[in-house]
Symmetry: C2
Subunit: 205 residues, 2 copies
DNA sequence: CAAGACATGTAATCCGTTACATGATTGA
DNA sequence: TCAATCATGTAACGGATTACATGTCTTG
């Protein structure tokens, strides 16, 4: 069993899904392409942790709708109490920010503005999903919401973190505000330009 | 050229390092094990983007100290202006949170308390690193700080995000505070326990 | 005296992405 | 008519982890 397989079980714990739907749902949990998901679904089904139902559709291709079995739930339950592994956060943006001193001021600012706009769009999209979960919750009644509680708080988590990152970008942009200071930091002008600039100012900001 | 190679160039842009030191530095930028780093260092050196110096040490094994060349800087510079790829965030904790409804209340709470304590420790450690960068900045003078500016802001970014995640954990724990509501959400009691509980209360909280 | 920091490498295996393959329907 | 959505799969390749290999010095 690898982590993706637990992610699949966790997602199907919420509601039965096709492999296609699963790929979208896993974005928040453990991103994976369909080419990786399908073989694992077959594997989990053969182990008896999942079952599937063949569903014919009109105007759309047929699909296999997978559901978690009791055995699958047991496997998941045993795994969630284990100490989670360290998260692996890989983001090219961070490498570029670290090497920012090589770029000119406009290049560095563009990196940050682009990031803010990308994060802003994602927050907006996610807000719609949150509204949808809240709407379903009110319609189906709170008891049915227990399975959706996890998704609800995870969507909110991601939005809190993305908004915080936008604040960070703005903070960095603020440091750039004083062009003398920024030019210095990026090595455009020499240290002599800074004489007497550090009273009452903490570090770079 | 793959992303790890740019991460290595980005790290060495700050200061010359051995492969061993690099592994620690890359934690913040693009995590990689030493077994992955060493072959790439050899490859980058053969391409002329890096050079190394053999350094003999007393009481410690010899090491190779790598530095970025002008050619290496040019390669990096050309890459940082390209649109960064979507970040890949993989974290087992999220899968477990999503499947939380399978656990009992204590199990769910433990998951969150453990996360808070792990994040808290990392924030503490990073604060020491930030203090160190600030100290070096004051000692070597701000002009030498330009290369360290990227690292400084990235350390602060990670701490802002980790503190925000701690707040999120506390928010979730707060939702658990009302045991009636929590038991309902986790499916321990039926929906009838909730009657009249939702006036003036937004969704789960 | 054991654990951990320092230091560098290779080999086997596992995980993840890209490309290949196919095909209907719907909306701009 | 072009792109997107829905839908499922396999094969090749590249990226990342674990295990194998070796050795000294320092600190609890």
């Amino acid at each position: 069993m690898n982590t993706l397989e637990y992610a699949i079980l966790s997602a199907l714990g919420r509601k039965p899904c096709s492999g296609y739907e699963l790929a979208a749902y896993l974005e928040l949990l453990w991103p994976a392409k369909h080419s990786q998901i399908y073989p694992h679904l077959t594997k989990l089904e053969q182990k008896g942790l999942l079952v599937y139902e063949h569903v014919e559709q009109l105007g759309k291709p047929d699909k296999k709708v997978y559901s978690i079995t009791d055995e699958g739930k047991e496997a998941l339950k045993a795994w969630i109490v284990e100490q989670p592994a360290e998260p692996a956060l890989r983001d090219e943006f961070l490498i570029k920010i670290n090497a920012m001193w090589l770029a000119d001021e406009d290049g560095a600012k563009k990196l940050l503005y682009d990031r803010i706009s990308a994060l802003g769009k994602k927050v907006e999209q996610r807000e719609k999903k949150i509204a949808k979960v809240e709407k379903e919750h009110k319609e189906t009644g709170p008891a049915a919401g227990s399975k959706h509680f996890g998704r609800y708080i995870l969507l909110n988590r991601r939005n809190m973190l993305d908004r915080e990152e936008i604040s960070w970008c703005q903070w960095v942009l603020g440091l750039f505000g004083d062009s003398k200071l920024v030019k210095l930091m990026l090595g455009v002008v020499g240290a002599e330009a800074l004489v007497g600039m550090f009273q009452g100012m903490e570090f770079f900001g």
